[in-house]
Amino acid sequence: MSQATLSIKNLHKSFADNEVLKGIDLEAQKGDVISILGASGSGKSTLLRCVNLLETPTSGEIRVNGELIEMRQDKKLGAVPVSLKQVERIRSRLAMVFQSFNLWSHMTVLENIIEAPVHVLGVPKKEAIVKAEAILQRVGLYERKNYYPGQLSGGQQQRVAIARALAVEPEVMLFDEPTSALDPELVGEVLNVMRGLAEEGRTMLVVTHEMAFARDVSNKVLFLHQGLVEEQGKPEDIFENPSSERFKQFISSVY
């Protein structure tokens, strides 16, 4: 069996006394598109944020391309990464798309996209610009390359955020509810771009409420409930034949 691009074992996360994740296992092979579903408070965003250590897991193992993110126990802080350098390096290989876009507001669209390649990965600026322009063509925003994020609609901003993620050629793209902050008429343009990425064979982890996306685009679905994986499998199996009563309720309530 080939090495998993991302592998998570027995992941726990507590905030003070509140245990949000109670032991999650997840494996993504290259090209997997995994949708993570769940009611609010089920821990799905926390899970995604643990992958690139925006939240520090309380315990468990995370491997990216087989490389273990090393953790140690600190008396005061609890679990902390052994090497911040390693964390930064791994983060630079995992791109994240946020619910509220989080584009850098003082930079133009183009500057946002070349920032990480040039200043984190050390790509020559000229090269980064050529690539960024090609990516912008793809997401249909080439004409807006000199605009500032504040001059764009939410849907456009999110497409720029996806372009920013693509520019680092990530091992895994992490999407944290990418359409939840958008007006309904803008959701489509973002989902279309994401669908294109999935077809291209990108490895994606998508926390979402878009059932249609989960069912039609992803090849694996994870349903979280109270910090545990309640149901998982291929979308065609679990949507047609859910084994968990809660997942049944969840899909009927969302549809």
Partner: protein, 225 residues
């Protein structure tokens, strides 16, 4: 009322204008160099770093600029070790004492502006920097500072204006700045209205130049919003 006095003595005023301009400009530049690191470290979690900064900022924001200038200009001579050191060469000069007082004063006020804009940095943009693998230092240099300093412009233009006006007290310690020039002219002709009115006009010119420049500057960044 006789404004021909002013026209006859315009050279005094021009010299004064020049003195005020370089004194304030240099103080502001040096003050800014102090303010940026101080403002950054004021947000530090380490108390040992925060405490001396707190003392500095509260002293210079808590007392009048005039009193600070007196402490430096008149007070420094009281310390023998200072009088015997190489620094005395500077401390005996009124311009140096004024420059020092103004720099430390504007440094403290500007540090507070810097602290404020950094503390209100949009959380999501910092998170994005982290998520893309930037180190703390990179985030500060590439994201936090450029973003924050733009947001500081309106407050900082006010600080510059306060500094221009505050610098009028330099005239008290023998420096012939704009106010100093007016004092000299008044002493010569006993025409306080004309003498000080001319000074007011010059201060207004400086102030409006600053306001205009910052308007243009802010306009450039306005499109980003």
């Amino acid at each position: 009322m006789d404004f021909s006095i002013i026209i006859n003595e315009y050279q005094f005023y021009l010299d004064g204008l020049w003195t005020t301009t370089w004194l304030v400009t240099l103080s502001l530049l040096l003050g800014l160099l102090i303010a940026i690191p101080v403002g950054i470290f004021q947000n530090s979690e380490n108390r040992l770093i925060r405490f001396p900064i707190w003392v500095y900022m509260y002293f210079f924001r808590g007392s009048p600029l005039l009193v600070q200038l007196f402490i430096i200009y008149y007070g420094a001579a009281q310390f023998d070790w200072l009088r015997e050191s190489w620094m005395w060469y500077y401390f005996q000069e009124a311009w140096f004492c004024a420059l020092l007082a103004f720099t430390l004063n504007t440094g403290a006020y500007t540090a507070e502006i810097v602290r404020g804009v950094i503390a209100t940095m949009p959380e999501g943009e910092l998170e994005a920097a982290k998520a893309y693998g930037m180190s703390k230092w990179q985030t500060l240099r590439r994201i936090t500072l450029p973003n924050s300093l733009r947001r500081a412009l309106p407050a900082y233009s006010n600080e510059i204006i306060f500094m221009i006006h505050g610098s009028a007290i330099a005239g008290i310690v023998t420096i012939v700045d704009i106010t100093g020039a007016a004092r000299v002219v008044n002493a010569r002709y006993y025409a306080p209205f004309e003498a000080y009115f001319a000074a007011a006009l010059l201060y207004m010119c400086l102030t409006f130049t600053v306001i205009f420049a910052f308007k243009q500057w802010e306009k450039r960044y306005q499109i980003e919003k």
